[in-house]
């Protein structure tokens, strides 16, 4: 379990993190979201013992990070923002170095080395200096370094930043396949990632938590939640009729004869819309209920705070 209590960090007059508290249990994958400069990296740096908080407490699996950083660091794997690495070393030498510094025995290191190299597919570049690798490979070396000791806790600061869609997919698959009793905290800008990976989302803005929910709960806060999307095969001029339905509060015209119908919270409009379509004998190409859009919720939550 990771426990953050009233965590604060100030640099002079600049308050980067203003009282953050949350808990993460084993098995959870926590998505840590927020606009640039919201304090995501600062918080992760405090959890990993890189910087000292101005106030507050952090414990990782029962170890207090402030009084005993090394013991906490032993059970954590960390990918810092931008994945800094020793460029002049080869991939193999670097991974072995990290393993040795972590005090792994030669046998254990050999086992884990092979395992991790396979997991992040580094076989082809093992003897290449890290400086000569592409961005995607560098990021994977950073991940491998965080995984080498099979840590219980993984802290990944923007693990898919700068990767192409295929590489992003691979990294996500890798995180999903990690053992189920681990704690994973990932920060990201990419909202689809949250949907695909995270069991819980903490959104911060200006150093404060503005939401702490499951991705589904978050989607339900969206104004698109339960909105009905309908697309006709030709133009019927249905606006009047749609607006007349009691469940519908607003109609938005989309391209290609499509309409987005916002509903009164807590009501179900699909049935009424379907009835109307039947009555008028309209030809429909597409009809579905929206689940809600995370980007909409994200924008609202983080902008609200700014205002």
């Amino acid at each position: 379990m990771i426990k953050l209590q009233d965590l604060e960090k100030s640099y002079g007059n600049l308050h980067a993190v203003k009282g953050i508290s949350f808990e993460v249990k084993p098995g959870e994958v926590l998505g840590f979201l927020g606009p640039n400069g919201a304090g995501k990296s600062t918080t992760m740096r405090m959890i990993t013992g890189y910087i000292q908080p101005t106030r507050g407490n952090i414990s990782v699996m029962g170890t207090d990070v402030l009084s005993n950083p090394q013991k906490a660091q032993e059970i954590m794997g960390y990918l810092p923002e931008g994945a800094p690495l020793y460029g002049e070393m080869t991939v193999a030498a670097f991974l072995r170095f990290v393993g040795q510094v972590r005090g792994m025995t030669a046998q254990r290191l050999n086992e884990r080395f092979d395992e991790v190299v396979r997991q992040v597919s580094l076989q082809k570049v093992l003897s290449q200096p890290i400086d000569t690798l592409s961005k995607g490979y560098k990021r994977r070396v950073g991940l491998a370094q965080a995984l080498i000791h099979d840590p219980q806790v993984l802290i990944l600061d923007e693990p898919t930043d700068g990767l192409d869609p295929n590489q992003k997919h691979e990294v996500r698959k890798l995180i999903q396949n990690l053992s189920k009793d681990k704690i994973v905290i990932i920060s990201t800008h990419i909202l689809e990632e949250v949907d695909a990976l995270c069991s819980r989302v903490v959104i911060i803005a200006k150093g404060k938590i503005v939401a702490d929910k499951t991705p589904m709960e978050l989607a339900q806060m969206s104004r698109y939640h339960k909105a009905v999307y309908v697309r006709f095969s030709e133009e019927y001029e249905p606006l009047e009729a749609l607006r007349a339905l009691p469940e519908i509060t607003e109609v938005e015209t989309c391209s290609d004869h499509g309409y987005l119908l916002y509903t009164e919270p807590g009501t179900q409009a699909l049935h009424a819309v379907n009835q109307l379509i039947h009555d008028r004998n309209w030809d429909v190409e597409e009809l579905h209920v929206e689940k809600g859009r995370l980007d909409d919720v994200f924008r609202r939550l983080t902008m609200e705070d700014a205002a």
Partner: protein, 244 residues
């Protein structure tokens, strides 16, 4: 301790994988040759010793050591690898020690590579090889003092040029404080104990005796305490300034 060894090995190998190390060694050897033969008048003196080699050692270190130490910490801070390094479960002192030892051993190797001079002097005459050995040992200890101070200034800033200049200036003051140029400025007005203190702080006064083959435990202690002090401050800076 095994962590220090791991870090030491990595650092030493990283020297060898960059052109800096080779450039450094070549410049060190060429300059020490020039100093010994031209400025030190090795042949003209007609004496079978390496004093003309050792006498210029402090000046050589003054320029070359800051170039070696300026990257120790400043580079890690600039490239961000410091974050990787300080989130591994290792105490900052282990990093400080490992990095210092690698630089010290590297400099020791460069020093040993000046052995053709030793062969030359043995070929030409019958020098006191014990004194020469003492001179080498003294040079190496003095190098340790320079390196520890350089490591401290490298940890104090993220700018390598600033680290270089600060190390150069402070080391210059420490070397020069034993010279008449500086001491005369004090002798006019200051009491003798001040004069002794200033001279006592100088690298020069402690190195001179050793370079002539006299190993005094106090001189060795002087360089050791400079090293301990420099490294202790480096660890303190890494712990508090670098980590913020």
């Amino acid at each position: 301790m095994s962590t220090v060894t791991t870090i030491f090995k990595r650092e030493l190998l990283s020297y060898l994988s960059t052109p800096l190390a080779y450039l450094f060694t070549v410049i060190f050897l060429v300059l020490s040759g020039i100093f010994t033969f031209y400025l030190g008048r090795f042949f003209e003196r007609g004496q079978a010793d390496l004093n003309s080699f050792f006498n210029f050692m402090p000046w050589l270190y003054l320029v070359l050591v800051p170039a070696l130490t300026m990257r120790l910490w400043a580079e890690e801070r600039k490239s961000g690898t410091i974050e990787l390094l300080l989130t591994l479960p290792v105490s900052p002192s282990a990093w400080v020690l490992g990095k210092f030892l690698a630089a010290w051993v590297f400099l020791g190797c460069a020093l040993i590579l000046s052995f053709p001079l030793w062969i030359t002097v043995n070929y030409l005459g019958e020098p006191d090889n014990g004194a020469i050995f003492a001179g080498y040992l003294g040079s190496w200890f003095m190098a340790g003092g320079f390196l520890a101070l350089g490591s401290m200034f490298s940890a104090a800033t993220r700018n390598q040029v600033i680290a270089f200049v600060l190390t150069l200036v402070v080391c210059f003051v420490l070397v020069a404080s034993g010279f008449p140029l500086v001491l005369d400025a004090f002798s006019v007005w200051a009491p003798n104990w001040v004069l002794d203190l200033v001279a006592g702080l100088s690298f020069m006064s402690h190195f001179e005796a050793i370079s002539r083959g006299v190993i005094d435990i106090r001189d060795a202690l002087y360089f050791i305490s400079i090293m301990v002090f420099g490294l202790w401050l480096t660890a303190h800076l890494v712990r508090h300034t670098v980590k913020r």
